[in-house]
Amino acid sequence: MASLEILKVPDERLKQASEPVDVFDDILRTFVKDLEETRQMGPGAVGIAAPQVGHFQRIVIVDVSKTRKPVPNHGYMVLVNPEITHWEGYEMGREGCLSVPDYTGNVIRATRLEVKAQDPWGKPLEYGMEGFEARALQHEMDHLDGMLFIDRVVSRRTDLFRRKVYQKGGKSRKSS
């Protein structure tokens, strides 16, 4: 295994679209191991996409199982040729990126996804994702199309007051 070099803005290669994977061999699986090792070297990264290390194939890794506050998750996922087949809802959340050091910004993402992909052996996968995990996948899949979260940052002023919380107390409060 080897840790790979992460491309950082303003590297033009981060704008390059990635190609689908059609050969599921040991070379691919070795690359996935290196990509995961690279993710784990990053400060608290919950995902990584192949093009972030200059490898322009449609491969992402997402693992939101170790957040500060636990969130619904499927653990460690390697998604090859991922496709979002359904999405709904939207929510603003703060994002940063291994490829954009020392900057975070607010981005609107869908809150629920259905996703089809393949594993590193070519076996089909299907997931339903929500919240933070869905956000992470959208962030990583953007890399496959040459997009960065900074291309989607919105002003905090545009945040909508969520009218559904008119009654006092947030999600953490237990009803009494």
């Binding site: 969130v71 703060r94 940063g96 002023r157």
Partner: protein, 168 residues
Amino acid sequence: MNDWKMLTLVGGDQQGIVAKVTMVLYRNGWNLGEASMIRLGGNFSIMMMVTGEGDVEQIVAPVASELGLHIHVDDISGGLHQHLIPNFQVRVLGADRAGIVAQVTQALVDAGFNILELESDVAGSPDSPVYIMNIQGFAQATLEQVENAVAILGDIDVSVSSVETLIG
């Protein structure tokens, strides 16, 4: 490392303020760092970190005078790459009355909350104004502790949510 100054400019809004001010700085060899610029009540306010040689107030004075802007310059310590990442978002909504900001922020301070960013606005209509405030900040406290701290504010609707910054 550079010595940074905080340059503040405030005046009636008009087109071209940012371009004119920053062009003068650029032509005189000054660099910009982090900045916050916004229109508030028909005024335009600029706060930006600047660094360069000479007297920045003198450099900016002619264009500020032309645009009707007040200038203020402070020597500051600190510099770039010192961002703190917020872990809480607080949204506030209430029929406008005196003391909303003071009461909410005091409750937050009592919970050990450090405000990193605060934006507020008065929405509604002149007859029934509504105060809306969005705060992002950092606290060691739990979500429940921050929620409890602001729960005492009866007529003001305060919602607290955790911000988990996604790095990917």
